[in-house]
């Protein structure tokens, strides 16, 4: 008699049903843990997805070709020269390419009639930015305005701080990469809904306007943002680009998984001058917010682990009770010719079924909870918004996580049930049959 024998399953199902209160309590506990795992996974996936979509659209490509230009050893500018040639290499060598855009990068003082603030500037070519249009949610104005050299997009929070609305004029003031100071006037053409941390310190203007502010030529930009069809191939694309650029005679910085603004000090301490390319990926550029995801992952894993242990102990105790109650039955079955492995299979089947039923209910509860939480559109606290680049809690459990939750928890419960089941199988028929209790 093997684990696949219908009779074992029948005995397991009926035994569970016969002790329905115990089964219900334990099944409910398993369901709660599973639901929690599914919901936490949903939050994790939601955060990762939001972060990925927002960050890879607004501040990074899947892979970035950026770098620093140093006119002297101690002064660096976060720009890449000859970007047209670089783009051609990208288009030629990246097999899985979706699209590639160039972005200017800057850091300037933005002055309104009533106040000022230091902001980052992304210089975008809105016509060639299909992803940007999808991610940014406009509250006021139009992205069409970014086609104008003086067009500026602000986020709600910035607009509120500077007390401006669409159509208002502001001034950017920034030191150029040549060491002189420059100012340009810009017009607010669009105000977008806040997108986490970006809303605090980043703005977008036309690429032409940014070039004017920093007095850059047409061959220079901040970075090439490369979008590929299969994001899992990011590292392979990075490696192939490094080889391709090196083969074309470009100087490359060592791989450094940090965002570009963290690298200034290190670059300025190095003695080289001229252009060096820096190939990064989206995780590198968003690593300053990834810690939050890591902390949440660790916390969620710990919670799940602790709950699983508690449930595991409960399962083991219940199996002990069940085996004690059924010792005479085990003895009888052994006496009539049931092998030890079949007794083991019988109890493991019971543990497995209990786990499977509990996790199935748990997945349903977790899925429903995720759906309700999403629909409730719960506003995140300010701190969480900053790092998650989202105003609302997004819970998006994937099919993969659901399957994982079912398999993981059911497996743990089945494995735990092995211990008492093994001891039940070791019982001698004569001892089991003469058991009193």
């Amino acid at each position: 008699m093997t684990i696949f024998d219908p009779m074992l399953w029948l005995i397991a199902v009926r035994s569970l049903f016969q002790h329905r209160i115990r089964t219900s309590l334990l099944g409910a506990a398993i369901a709660v843990v599973t639901a929690l795992l599914v919901s936490l996974a949903g939050i994790y996936v939601g955060m990762k997805t939001t972060l990925l979509v927002s960050a890879t659209t607004l501040m990074s490509g899947h892979v970035n070709v950026a770098g620093f230009y140093k006119s002297t050893a101690s002064s660096s500018a976060p720009v890449v020269t000859q970007y047209q040639k670089l783009r051609e290499i990208v288009q030629r060598d990246v097999k899985d390419l979706d699209y590639v855009v160039q972005r200017g990068r800057g850091w300037a003082k933005l002055i309104s009639d009533t106040g000022s603030m230091q902001v980052g500037i992304g210089g975008i070519d809105i016509v060639n930015e299909p992803g940007f249009v999808k991610v940014v949610q406009l509250k006021e104005g139009s992205l069409e305005g970014l086609k104008q050299p003086d067009g500026l997009l602000l986020f709600e929070e910035q607009a509120k701080k500077l007390d401006v609305k669409v159509g208002d004029k502001l001034t950017f003031s920034a030191p150029t990469f040549k060491g002189t100071n420059n100012t340009i006037d810009v017009t607010v053409v669009a105000i977008a809904a806040n997108i986490g941390m970006l809303s605090s310190w980043n703005t977008y203007m036309s690429d032409t306007g940014l070039r004017q502010l920093y007095q850059l030529n047409d061959e220079t930009t901040g970075a090439l943002q490369i979008y590929i069809k299969d994001i899992s191939k990011v590292r392979a694309v990075q490696e192939s680009l490094r080889k391709a650029f090196a083969a074309e005679g470009f100087e490359l910085m060592d791989t450094d998984p940090r965002p570009f603004f963290s690298k200034f000090d290190g670059v300025n301490r190095e003695s080289w001058t001229g252009q060096k390319l820096d190939i990064t990926n989206w995780e590198d550029e968003t690593s300053f917010v990834q810690w939050f995801v890591t902390i949440l992952t660790v916390a969620a894993t710990t919670v799940i682990f602790v709950l699983t242990v508690i449930i595991g102990v409960g399962i083991m105790n219940v199996m002990w009770i069940s085996i004690r109650e059924r010792t005479r039955e085990i003895g009888t079955l052994r006496a009539v010719g049931m092998q030890r492995r079949s007794v083991l299979a019988m109890f493991v089947t019971e543990g497995f079924l209990l786990g499977l039923m509990g996790t199935t209910v748990g997945v349903a509860i977790g899925g429903l909870a995720s759906f309700l939480l999403n629909n409730a559109a719960i506003k995140l606290p300010k701190g969480a918004q900053l790092v998650l680049m989202s105003e609302k809690l997004i819970v998006a459990p994937t099919a993969g996580w659901v399957v994982f939750a079912v398999i993981f928890i059911t497996s743990v419960i089945t494995l735990i049930s092995l211990i008492p089941s093994f001891l039940a199988a070791r019982l001698k028929p004569i001892s089991a049959m003469s058991h009193v209790g």
Partner: protein, 252 residues
Amino acid sequence: MNSIVSIRDVVKEYELGTTVVQALRGVSLEVMKGEFLSIAGPSGSGKTTLLNLIGCVDTATRGVVEVAGKDTAKLTERELTDLRLNTIGFIFQSFNLVAVLNVFQNVEFPLLLQRKLGSKERRDRVMNLLEQVGLHTHAKHRPSELSGGQRQRVAVARALVTDPLLVLADEPTANLDSATGNQIIDLMKELNQKKGTTFIFSTHDHKVMQHANAVIRLADGKVLARESAKDAVAHALSLGEAPAEAPAGARV
């Protein structure tokens, strides 16, 4: 007739704390195929221990126990289980049916363990046996829905479903009233005569004992005699043992 059970100088000792209790003290016994043999004796005489050794659910401390020509001391746990499954049928005093299975499933269970028959053959054999024990209309009932006699009849059917060479019954009528007990014994006797299955059953009830071809009389872990049922009953009555169903005041 060939021997199906051969027991030679068997000793069985149990340890109770620091005390060693001898349940069997040098028992020797031959049981031939087709016998309808009763093991009689008072409580504590070693009846159940002897049946357990023959049934391969326990092992002797010393001596030889051969069942169907196999020395049980030389068999592995797995081989002993196979021997129980394929050669021996058990009928227990307390019926020992699986509570969560219905009558049909309880009887079918040993066949599933054997994995020799297809589902239709299994069904036919189980239903045939249930008909023989008069429970074919109760196939879907759970044990809890049956009377004691009906349960024991299910146990008889389960014991016989694999066509074993040997059926062991430990006080099969002890938990039944005398009329039902007689029915069970009659049923066992009928199956013994029809199929030639060897039956060994323990009892201290004269009315049950009298159905046997022969009676092994045990006392204090020793075989006192192997005698005819008539002699065994007479002997028991001469010692003043009352029939099990008789009221206490009727003892002579």
